[in-house]
């Protein structure tokens, strides 16, 4: 019973921490913060493995300038990313799109996690049942006989 309460308390603490973490400080991001966040989510067009936010390549600087211009014009993050995709294609995005084939990239790890968790839970239940097996009187008699001098 105590152990169950401990698990419930742990789950509650986790949920509250997630909720507080997800909310942030509540203030909306500035234009500069938004621009930086969008730039970090797209690839530098001319270099490998770097986002447009990290690279000093001229093409990355051009992408950052364009993002800043569009943020200042009041465009949404999605609209700005859609513009970049309309120029470079889907692979300009560092994170795959959450629709179509790209959805599989997001969904597969989650499905694998759920299946793994279910498998573990099933295994724990099975092991518990196995440990719960009590010796029968016949078992006890056999042991007593074996231990008799």
């Amino acid at each position: 019973m105590t152990s169950r309460l401990a698990w419930v308390a742990l789950a509650l603490v986790l949920l509250v921490a997630l909720f507080v973490g997800a909310r942030g400080d509540g203030s909306p991001p500035t234009d500069a913060e938004r621009s930086a966040r969008i730039a970090r989510s797209v690839r530098c067009p001319t270099c490998r493995g770097l986002s447009a936010g990290e690279s000093d390549a001229k093409a990355a600087v051009a992408v950052r300038d364009e993002i800043r211009r569009r943020v200042a014009r009041g465009q949404s993050d999605d609209a700005i990313r859609a513009y970049l995709v309309s120029r470079y294609g889907d692979d300009i995005l560092l994170a795959p799109p959450s629709s179509g084939v790209g959805l599989a990239v997001w969904a597969l790890p989650a499905v694998a996690f759920v299946l793994g968790a279910l498998g573990l839970a099933a295994a724990f239940v099975r092991w518990r049942r196995l440990t719960a097996v009590r010796p029968t009187s016949e078992d006890r008699a056999l042991v007593a006989e074996a231990r008799a001098p």
């Binding site: 067009p45 001319t46 001229k58 093409a59 051009a62 992408v63 364009e66 120029r87 470079y88 294609g89």
Partner: protein, 176 residues
């Protein structure tokens, strides 16, 4: 069993070599572009001569928009082919080349053209805005724009005069 495996590998190798050997030359290797079929983004830039040029002012003929840099070896290799291509079409004036400097200095480009020839307009793109509008990832990259101002094809890598003529013939046939 091992003999059959070896024969299978050999067959695949032969097919691969045949495929590579019979591939079309570089200029006909068009790459996908999100811009294909859409209006070509306007290019309004300063030429090396100082005059301002607009892509839209070239309507009525095909335009090959060529992103290049003097430091790029494939660009150096394709330059004589572009010279040949423009000379072939000089009389008919059915196609123009419009070069856009990709991450290079105008002074380098001036020296390069003086040494290698070529008299097509070259536009500077100091902030990389034109390259971004066309989604260029690195030079050389070229876009064939039709006489109405729509992007037909994107060519990644160096071009050659014959390959460009084939593309042009295909585009002309599709329009008629």
């Amino acid at each position: 069993m091992a003999r059959w495996s070896a024969a299978g590998v050999a067959l695949v190798a032969v097919l691969l070599v045949t495929l590579l050997a019979t591939r079309e030359p570089a200029a006909t290797q068009v790459a996908s572009s999100a811009l294909a079929g859409h209006a070509a983004p306007e290019i309004a830039g300063r030429e090396l001569s100082g005059a301002t040029l607009r892509l839209s002012s070239l309507r009525g003929r095909f335009v090959l928009v060529n992103f290049f840099a003097t430091w790029c070896t494939p660009c150096q290799r394709e330059h004589p082919e572009l010279v040949k291509f423009t000379q072939r079409h000089l009389a008919a004036d059915d196609v123009r080349v419009l070069a856009v400097i990709f991450d290079d200095d105008a002074a380098n480009v001036r020296r390069f053209f003086a040494a290698e020839g070529g008299d097509w307009p070259v536009v500077a793109d100091p902030r990389g805005k034109v390259a971004l509008e066309y989604g260029v990832r690195g030079p050389p990259e070229s876009f064939l724009v039709d006489p109405d101002g729509f992007v037909l094809t994107r060519i990644v890598g160096e071009v050659d005069a014959d390959g460009l003529d084939r593309l042009l013939a295909q585009a002309g046939a599709a329009r008629s």
